[in-house]
């Protein structure tokens, strides 16, 4: 532990906001920095290791979303912010365990990812998404070439075509968009 020089929160936030291929490194640093919360959750809330990992992983995803989309304004320390979200999710999990109510961390729902669709469309698309095997789709990512894979991952992270063209060195956002749609087409063909 003596040799584990931890980066400051400001450095981590800056690295995540910077984006590009270096973002992953800073995401991992953030994950590692507050990883001890998993043990805290097990001890304090009597949750299992799997439950605490899942809650912590969701917490970090939520924090990343806040940082990237400028929702984290730095009014509280990052540590406090992480702790609050993690604790709230732990309490939700305890409630879920005792009352069997709706799940707290089963990923994004159709409402989260397709909020612009009318309700009747959502139910059709939601049903189709349930029929598709997303894990199989994830495995197929490795078959479409490194650049295509990187492009789809960047897009999924919310990068605009302009940012993608900059990071992956395309001539223009329009070229990046055409390439992105071709990559999606390639993925679909492999699925």
């Amino acid at each position: 532990m003596f040799f584990n020089s931890k980066k400051s929160d400001a450095t981590i936030i800056e690295g995540i906001k910077e984006g590009g291929i270096q973002r992953r490194k800073f995401e991992n640093l953030l994950f590692e920095k507050y990883h001890y919360l998993i043990k805290d959750g097990i001890r304090k809330h009597k949750l299992t290791d799997d439950e605490c990992f899942s809650i912590y992983s969701d917490t970090i995803m939520a924090i990343l979303d806040s940082i990237i989309n400028d929702k984290f304004e730095g009014r509280s320390e990052l540590k406090t912010f992480v702790y609050q979200i993690f604790s709230n999710k732990c309490v939700d999990q305890i409630r879920k365990n005792t009352t069997n109510k709706a799940s707290v961390h089963n990923g994004l729902s159709i409402d989260d990812i397709a909020y612009s669709l009318p309700e009747e469309n959502k139910s059709i698309i939601g049903q189709m998404m349930l029929e598709h095997d997303i894990d199989k789709l994830y495995q197929k990512l490795s078959l479409i070439g490194e650049k295509c894979k990187q492009m789809i991952l960047f897009w999924g992270e919310g990068y605009s075509d302009e940012e993608i063209s900059k990071h992956l060195e395309y001539n223009s956002p329009a070229v990046a968009k055409t390439s992105r749609l071709r990559c999606l087409d390639k993925l679909k063909a492999n699925y």
């Binding site: 291929i21 994950f31 650049k147 990187q150 991952l153 990071h167």
Partner: protein, 235 residues
């Protein structure tokens, strides 16, 4: 399909006019193929989250491994003495085996770069044919076939390897240098293969400098562990 994806993409990026939007939403209710493509599009967009979760799971696994036990000062002395002995014997072994960076590089080429992995598949593409030729040590024929393929990081690496195997080091160097500049790769082998080639060319100081960069940099370079091992072999 690409047209559908374009339309879907424009819809979710709010680029359609109101009437186009309504027509699109109406179409989803009746056109199963379009609805299916929308479901695919939305799931593809979630793949980055799955990748991140997978990465966190791996990280959690490695962070949860039991930490090394704290040892007493007395035990520490015993361990230090044992470690020194192991080091001395290792050095003797290394010298007796004429371990030099050049030898390391030659062994690396002979053992690690002798085959290229390929996925099992019924269909033989030109890429798999070229890899098969490489693995059968038909480097020149493999090279001719690799040249016909789309130039990407993978074919750059493989062409470089062919040149390395036929001892055309200048050309190998050119390909590995090109590969090194591709900053889109999650792990870039270019620099490490360049160092191996430099050692084969007996350009020790250039190779040493590069190996130092690989072992110290925070970039996504392949071969950090090997670079550290090789640096120990320089006098």
């Amino acid at each position: 399909m690409e047209n559908d994806l374009n339309l879907i993409d424009d819809y979710f990026n709010n680029l359609l006019q109101d009437n186009e939007k309504q027509a699109f939403e109406k179409q989803i209710l009746t056109n199963k193929t379009l609805a299916n493509d929308v479901a695919f599009y939305l799931q593809a967009k979630q793949l980055s989250s799955i990748e991140k979760q997978q990465n966190f799971a791996d990280l959690h696994h490695s962070l949860s491994k039991p930490a090394a036990k704290i040892i007493s000062f007395k035990n520490l002395r015993i361990f230090s003495a044992a470690a020194s002995l192991i080091l001395v014997f290792s050095m003797l072994f290394l010298f007796n085996n004429d371990q030099s960076p050049e030898n390391y590089a030659s062994k690396y080429v002979d053992n690690q770069l002798i085959t290229i992995g390929t996925e099992m598949s019924d269909s033989k593409t030109n890429l798999t044919k070229a890899i098969e030729l490489y693995n059968n040590k038909k480097y020149k024929e493999a090279l001719d076939l690799f040249k016909t393929l789309q130039a990407d990081s993978q074919t750059l690496e493989y062409q470089g390897l062919c040149h390395l195997q036929i001892k055309d080091y200048d050309m190998a160097l050119k390909f590995f240098k090109d590969l090194k500049t591709d900053n889109t790769l999650l792990q870039n082998k270019g620099a490490f293969l360049e160092a191996i080639t430099l050692l084969k060319m007996k350009k020790e100081s250039e190779a040493k400098q590069l190996l130092k960069t690989i072992s110290e940099t925070e970039n996504n370079y392949f071969g950090k562990k090997e670079a550290k091992e090789m640096l120990l072999l320089f006098e």
